[in-house]
Amino acid sequence: DAGVTQSPTHLIKTRGQHVTLRCSPISGHKSVSWYQQVLGQGPQFIFQYYEKEERGRGNFPDRFSARQFPNYSSELNVNALLLGDSALYLCASSLSETGYSPLHFGNGTRLTVT
């Protein structure tokens, strides 16, 4: 079975640009979450979506937005990129609407903002 897939694997953008990251969950998983991981820290929660609805949001500015499609895949959008947005962006899927089931992570998208 395919795991969580994310694209692209690496991305370089300049300040002020916009970026879209994509995620396909494990088949049968209806919940998708997005995390940001900077060097030396654990993953920081950005969003959770379930059945195309936002179910949770972390402490990130409005420049960050996401959506989930009918096939449960998801996009994370970041506008007006800042140098501090450089990080590994992880997508995770799970069976449960709540967090009471483990998250299955993709290998991430490494975003570099110059």
């Binding site: 929660f45 949001r57 992880l90 998250l103």
Partner: protein, 114 residues
């Protein structure tokens, strides 16, 4: 505001001995706890979880202990193997006003020496 803390950035253990990784949390609303393992260039992989109604959960060489009064959990790996060398993240989940969130600690890098 670090709600989940892993105070040891690294730990070195001899092969065959016990590895003990610790985690503290501050939010008493957390009611589901997980440990993830991460290898370089890969996303975190789920290891083991525990509900707040239990104080111990065991899966093969891995055991998680939860002390709710102390807001502390630990992961024991016995016996440790060189392949266990990785970064270990503690995570805690809760449903709050912002929706359901899973919060990660900063991680502990485990080195198992052959």
């Amino acid at each position: 505001d670090q709600q989940v803390k892993q105070n040891s950035p690294s730990l070195s253990v001899q092969e065959g001995r016990i590895s003990i990784l610790n985690c503290d949390y501050t939010n008493s609303m957390f009611d589901y706890f997980l440990w993830y393992k991460k290898y370089p260039a890969e996303g975190p992989t789920f290891l083991i979880s525990i509900s707040s109604i239990k104080d111990k959960n065991e899966d093969g060489r891995f055991t998680v202990f939860l002390n709710k009064s102390a807001k502390h959990l630990s992961l024991h790996i016995v016996p440790s193997q060189p392949g266990d060398s990785a970064v270990y993240f503690c995570a805690a989940s809760a449903l709050d006003t912002g929706g359901f969130k899973t919060i990660f600690g900063a991680g502990t890098r485990l080195f198992v020496k052959a």
